[in-house]
Amino acid sequence: MVTVNSKQNPSSERLNIVVLVKPVPDPKEPPKFKPDGTLDRLSMKLVMNPYDKYAVEAALQLREALGGIVIGVSMAPPHAIDALREALAMGVDEFILLSDPRLAGSDTLATSYALSMVVKKLWSKLGKVDLVLCGVESSDSNTAHIGPEVAEWLGLPSVSYVDKILEVSGGYVKVKKLIEGGYMVIRVKMPAVLTIAGTSYTPRIPTLRDVITARRKQITTLNADDVSIDTSKVGLLGSPTRVIKMWAAEIKRRGKIFTDTDIDRLIDNFLAELRKDGVKLK
């Protein structure tokens, strides 16, 4: 749990937290392609990016400790709404879905710009935003760009790879950040953007009741104009990067899974399969 030191500043320590959530194709299902070889995202079932669950969990723990509000923000096509319900069932208070065909094809710079405009809108509505949290990366694109890029658009400090939020006190947040071979402890002035690496947070599993309550929570859908997005900076044409080619990765995993309550038989089958495939363990 987070250490709470609210003596110095009791009333203003209530936190307005924005959590950025990306609806992603279900990692458990194989990707689908259009005839031209590009990914057919629209026909794939969308779920909440697993890494964003850690960010949601961190936000909820902060709210439970200090009071405040947790607002989810996503940029996605309208059929992503089921994925957002997952976050609401976990305990996010309300959700904003930025959805606009003009945003399709946005790369990370364009996406972070669009998301930052939603945060700005919330900022003026709520009077302040203290923290913007997101998962360290998404399970489909794995860029880890959105957190630091959103921070840059908002002119805020950011810390990526946050393992744990250690303390919130006097307008500062102290975090443990993962680095090669160890960690750093960093103190950052709020408002700040943190990307959560997840190792210290176990996402809560919603009960049936949570799921039902989540259906009554508000999801506000906004378009680009609602948050004053300059549409020349988004979408395929507003994005500096272009995907010129996609192809199946060379490494195709065999995916042979052995399940047997008789472990001797399981090992027999496994070793026999290795022999068949010509794989030598030594």
Binding site: P31, T143, K174, G181, I244, I251
Partner: protein, 337 residues
């Protein structure tokens, strides 16, 4: 001449290896396609490391050496890099895909308003014709990376914005040889940080272990995770020894103190690609997977059939490792004798 910039990350022992790998790769591309290679060195007391970058292949080193940079500070580092880039206007800017590179590079990119591609596993130079406008571009940076959980590869370009930026995964290129006969230009920059808010982002503590074991040349690695527990690591060591392999670990196992950091595989550990990687009691969190997913064959042993590690495994054994491994060792010993 168009310039390739490489960010020279500094760690206690000197220039971080992933940055040297990038200097080497940039040199190869530069020689073939007619670019120059410059290194960007930021920190305090780092001026003395500039020669090393030249010996490894840089023809120019831009140094920002300032006391306020003695501890890593994302905001100050971004500021320093952006100022040099705005003056020098490199065509390409490469960062290592370390935890530092992957937070610093996107901030620099966003401030410059340019595109960036994360965690590339290859970089090449090539031409591009815009299918919409028909405009032809020469010698663009091809930023090649896996996407969609590693099942798809994508080649990405940044046609109209400069610099073209990418972070590149450690270990995909080798550290170039050190040639002390090479010479180059060192340019020192003075940047005024007096307006900056020092307290906005402050590193209070750094704990970092140096690595003594090199897993990258191992043909077989048997790795343990959270599910292995200390007793499991005894079995893992025994299996590794029997197979003539090395022992690896996930960050969870290292943090729990069951094994030293030297053995850690993953984002904050080593990137390995052995012939056979056996993941024992490892769930398959992305931080671990990025360090081993290019292994030729992956074998996973885990009692949770839903564990993500099975999705990237060639062979998955669902069951209790404390039952499976002793029996496997027994069978392999019999086969041996």
């Amino acid at each position: 001449m168009s310039k390739i910039f490489v960010y020279a990350e500094v760690v206690e022992e000197g220039i971080a290896e992933p940055s040297l790998e990038l200097i080497g790769r940039a040199r190869e591309l530069a020689d073939k396609h007619g670019f120059s290679v410059s290194a960007m060195l930021v920190g305090f007391g780092v001026r003395k490391l500039a020669d090393e970058l030249i010996y490894r292949g840089a023809s120019e080193v831009h140094v920002v050496d300032n006391e306020v940079l003695s501890k890593y500070n994302l905001l100050f580092y971004t500021r320093a890099i952006v100022e040099v880039v705005e003056n020098e206007k490199p065509d390409i800017f490469l960062f290592p895909a370390t935890t530092t590179g992957r937070e610093l590079a996107p901030r620099v990119a966003a401030r410059l308003g340019t595109g960036i591609t994360a965690d590339c596993t290859a970089i090449e130079i090539g031409d591009y014709v815009d299918p919409i406008t028909g405009k032809k571009y020469e010698k663009l940076l091809y930023q090649i990376r896996p996407t969609f959980g590693g099942t798809i590869m994508a080649a990405i370009v940044t046609p109209n914005h400069r610099p073209q930026m990418a972070t590149v995964r450690p270990g995909v290129y080798s550290v170039p040889p050190r040639d002390t006969s090479r010479s180059g230009r060192i340019k020192e920059w003075t940047i005024d940080f007096s307006e900056e808010d020092v307290g906005c982002l402050e590193v209070l503590e750094v704990k970092r272990e140096r690595r003594k074991v090199d897993l990258r040349s191992a043909k077989i690695i048997v790795s343990g995770g959270r599910g292995a527990r200390p007793e499991g690591f005894k079995l893992i060591r025994e299996l590794a020894e029997l197979l003539g392999g090395e022992v690896g670990a996930s960050r969870a196992a290292v943090d729990a103190g069951w094994i030293s950091y030297d053995h850690q595989v993953g984002l904050t550990g080593q990137t390995v690609k052995p012939d056979i990687y056996i993941a024992v009691g490892i769930s398959g969190a992305i931080q671990h997977v990025v360090g081993m997913k290019d292994s030729k064959i992956i074998i996973a042993i885990n009692k949770d059939p839903e564990a993500p590690i099975f999705r990237i495994a060639d062979y998955g054994l669902v069951g209790d490792l404390f039952v499976i491994i002793p029996k496997l060792i027994e069978r392999l010993k019999v086969a041996k004798s």
